[in-house]
């Protein structure tokens, strides 16, 4: 039987890594480039890259493309053991991640029509107001060093007032200033949730395009939505289904141990 096309790409990349030509940290050619080189579809390249990612040889890095992360001989020869949890996660996520990287890259290309950006247009940016606020802040500046762990007190008061107008009554001591919602999610994932926990979320969801919970060892479990968002019934159903789904795993693990 003829080898699948993606296998040729996998072998080519493995060879370059094992010869030490592509060292740890070096960027591998773009998907577009590889597709051209091997005269295959992008999807074939993605399949190959997924396999190499699953082997731990390469990894997508934000802003850097796909880079070599490992080259040890033990790793090269290692057969991946079956771990359904991880494989399922990889199956769902790695293709997305390469697409997300491609999008991130393309978002800085001014020649493209950007119908993807989740960001307000520069046309809407309040530049004059921003300038005057920055000036006002600068004229009142006092020496500054590290802030309080939860963030600048003045800002936390302002946020507390802002939230009150939106129906949320909280004191500044219950507010943590972060660099964006993503940092909140990151802190929650490393600080509050146990490895192996399940995170329920809407299907589809923006969260699937990130790896924040999966990287902290959590599983994502989709809930159905209708025109008003999450269907409350679906939480119960999904929880029950999860329980049933776990049962066949048990004999499998025992078999492995034996």
């Amino acid at each position: 039987m003829k080898k699948p096309k993606y296998q040729a790409i996998v072998e080519y990349i493995k060879a370059r890594i094992s010869k030490g030509e592509w060292t740890i940290g070096s960027q591998i050619p773009s998907q577009r480039h590889l597709a051209k080189q091997f005269e295959v579809n992008r999807s074939t390249v993605i399949t190959a890259l997924e396999e190499l990612m699953a082997d731990g040889l390469i990894e997508g890095k934000a802003g850097k493309g796909t880079v070599v992360t490992n080259n040890t001989w033990t790793l090269m020869g290692k057969q991946t053991s079956t771990n359904w949890n991880e494989n399922v996660t990889l199956g769902i996520h790695k293709p997305s991640i390469s697409t997300v990287q491609e999008i991130n890259e393309a978002e800085s290309d001014d020649s493209l029509i950007q119908l993807s950006k989740g960001e307000l247009s520069p046309e809407i940016f309040p530049l004059e107001k921003m300038k005057s606020i920055v000036q006002k802040v600068s004229s009142q500046l006092t020496p500054f060093g590290y802030e309080e762990p939860k963030g600048n007190v003045k800002l936390r008061h302002a946020i507390s007032e802002y939230l009150k107008r939106r129906g949320v009554n909280v004191s500044p001591s219950s507010i943590l200033v972060v660099s964006g919602a993503l940092q909140s999610l990151h802190l929650i994932s490393i600080g509050l949730l146990k490895r192996g926990s399940t995170v329920f979320l809407e299907f589809p969801s923006y969260l699937y395009s990130l790896t924040v919970f999966q990287s902290a060892g959590m599983e994502l479990n989709s809930l159905s939505m209708d025109k008003e968002g999450i269907m409350t019934d679906s939480i119960y159903q999904t929880k029950e289904k999860g329980k049933i789904f776990c049962i066949p795993i048990q004999p499998f693990i025992i078999q492995q141990v034996l």
Binding site: I113, S173, L185, F203, S205
Partner: protein
Amino acid sequence: MYTNPTFHNPTGTLMRKKRREELIEYCVREQLPVIEDDVYRDLWIDNPPPEPLKSKDHHGNVLYLGSLSKTLSPGLRIGWVVGPESVINRLADLKMQSDYGSSTLSQLVAAEWLSSGLYDHHLEDVREQLRNRRKVAIDSLNKYLSPYATWEIPKGGFFIWVRIKSTFKVKRLFDKALSSGILVNPGRIYAEQSGQYIRLSYGYASLDELNEGIFQLSEIIKHQYK
């Protein structure tokens, strides 16, 4: 549970008051902790959205996330998380261990925006512009894509979740659009594997580009079925 009940990314769905009450009641009863991601709340276009789930949380069950990135500037890098004090203390400790806190300058600028009232004025401008942008996008969709696709008109935020009708299966629409100079987000990055969905944003491109981009998408689909 993670949820994005107000102008959900990517579908634009808005959870109404009754569903919010049902959901929070369920989560409190089942002791299911909730992360409420509410970063699009201020981008309502038609009417102010129902109050956050957090407003009905009397048990400290909800961690509430907000940000200035979607409404003012992602460059400030300012957002917040709200929750029970013990949880916030724990998260603050982790934040210190990771970056020793956000920049004082950014925080002071954000505080000034919020407390001066200029942020609220700015939001009025944003809503006006988004209303106009949404109109241009929906008009173009009606004009060019209605034979091939369906969508809901979002009540806020800046995303339209477009479903290409199954009779017009477009292989690699994302790649084809990119080769025509248009960047869209394919549904698959949100785990929608059918390949029939794309997320369009009307928040960023110029009005002409919005129109042109949507026209080009229709051409790609039309071309495939010639």
